[in-house]
Symmetry: C2
Subunit: 401 residues, 2 copies
Amino acid sequence: MTVTSKATCEDLDASDPLAVQRSMFSLPEATLYLDGNSLGALPRSTAAKLDKVITEQWGAGLISSWEGHGWWAKPLELGDRLAPLIGAAPGEVVVGDSTSINLFKVLAAALGLRPGRRVVVADARHFPSDGYVIEGLCALLPGCQVRTVEGDDRRLAEAIDDSVAAVVADHVDYRYSTVRDMSEVTSRAHSRGALAIWDLSHSAGAIAVALDRDEVDFAVGCTYKYLNGGPGAPAFLFAAQRHLETARQPLSGWSGHADPFGFSAGYKPAPGVARFLCSTPAILSLAAVEASLDIWDSVDLAAVVDKGARLGDLMIELVEARFPDGAMTLASPRRASERGNHVAFRHPRAAELIARLAARSVIADFRPPDILRFGMAPLYLRYVDIWDSVEVLSEVLGAVD
Amino acid sequence: MTVTSKATCEDLDASDPLAVQRSMFSLPEATLYLDGNSLGALPRSTAAKLDKVITEQWGAGLISSWEGHGWWAKPLELGDRLAPLIGAAPGEVVVGDSTSINLFKVLAAALGLRPGRRVVVADARHFPSDGYVIEGLCALLPGCQVRTVEGDDRRLAEAIDDSVAAVVADHVDYRYSTVRDMSEVTSRAHSRGALAIWDLSHSAGAIAVALDRDEVDFAVGCTYKYLNGGPGAPAFLFAAQRHLETARQPLSGWSGHADPFGFSAGYKPAPGVARFLCSTPAILSLAAVEASLDIWDSVDLAAVVDKGARLGDLMIELVEARFPDGAMTLASPRRASERGNHVAFRHPRAAELIARLAARSVIADFRPPDILRFGMAPLYLRYVDIWDSVEVLSEVLGAVD
């Protein structure tokens, strides 16, 4: 597209099929929030939902709410509601614990399913916490080696040989927004007898994800970015149906037991994906995820993917038109199909620019060493917000030059 | 004491130094809630606190609240506030994740601190989830053996020999309420070069706990029982000061990294107890814990311990006076000093009795196979509630006989 005026952006907003979803979020006036890829905005219904759960279910129902309000079943119920957003089937997803903890579980499960193998291929592009967790698990296991791989999908795929138990990769690079070819990497892993584990933190609710079609083995991701579950919201965990009866994971708390209220000695994993649960469900946090899924239930995911791509394209187009001297260098793929829903640029004074933007109520992220990261959450961002943000960016950049 | 009338109970309530705390809880009318040892009652301030955090901090502050509202520091801040309740010093406690996950962390840390040893002594009385987690960790570690010990403190202590890396025990038995001698078992562990790990889920906020005085190495516990943090609230983790610079734990997520926002490759543990953090802090759940600690900050812990003992004594006295035929058999220690803040009785039709009590709005717990468990949360239970509960119990028992 070629957008040369704010009026064009207003036209795009007027015909946006997701405009109705924006009204479901509580956004501070006069803030241009390009950071929904870090912490998603607040759904309008969340506060009332939490109040109800706190007052009626906890306060009045007390212990009886574990059954009476279905608390115990929430991790599975919300998992089933989240499943369509990531191309999973009912019974393959749970919501609970954190992304790091869930990665620990599924990687341990994958290593258990490949007992003769002790190499884990790790994507050097991953969010660092994933690397720390892989390191933490492997340090426990004699002979376990982490093979960290820099580079594109082909390099990553080629690093998977017959010694590899599992590959762990981020679907969308948290810095540059580059999308990995989930199908290609997973297929390569399988051809070598390895399993594929994906972190979807930057893709769930943002771009198309087809876990079952791509035959992914395990996946994890957070719900506090594009899924709007709130700060530190519970994460999700996906395990493919074909592994559910054989996978074991070491964070074997009572929530994953076949008969948690039998209080028997000895762990017996629950049938199905419930065996990946560990902890007593965190009901207040889960209620906030539920409020968000109430919105997501009614969303056309194809429209989200389409709008995310257009917002990113617009951002790139406007920045490059405004700074033809290359003061801001695109660090993300130019083609929307190769990009997640954030756009990164490089500038030597990126940290200062992000601080100056914030002072003007344009909220984006700095990532070391020189990256400005702009998130394009399709549910509540308008095309006109991109226009206005680039206007402010232009003024701010003039001030630091 | 000898209590022969409801009027005596009313007198005791009139002079109760904790009567003011009861007014800080939202309790359903006409319910006699003897299950605060399972899910603590709702503080009156929790709903407003959550509303504020959701609306003002998340909704309006968005990403800036991680710093602006001190979100990132909450696990340490709340740990410092919780520390006095368990006899710990500032800088030894964090709040986050779950009891099971925290047990996994500290047991792995303990095994790391005792590299030549591969035996874990486990208390057969523990809440089953603790056993499942010990089993889950040990299954990962070649040569790791779990030695599960039945019996009293002496039996437990005697099972700790020079091959033992750590003993894991529950301070208060979740069924019978028996209190372990923390000092004796810990001291025996140390005399054999082993470490002591305690689960305080049924003692924090209920009875006297002196982790530092008793030289405990590690401890974990939940905040949703006597600490009123809400269903599935974040747990706490204690690590003694002397281990903080050497202990390592495998759930090494970015929250425990020395420089989480440096996004560097390679895990470097944070100095101090922060290295036991894993996940992005669960802000909504932590806000509920904070609302509860606002109450606990003003509580005289000696009064809590004293009242808990008196409520339990009263329950035993009234039940035994009412059922001199021994229809209900005391399953908890008779001496308050050997008992936590719940009292257990045996009856062959315990499950049915608990259901009938619930139908009459007396809420208590059944635990297999034949245990009725009555929780005596001192902050909001009245002496008269015990009287009334035993009245109803008497009617209900008459109906099933």
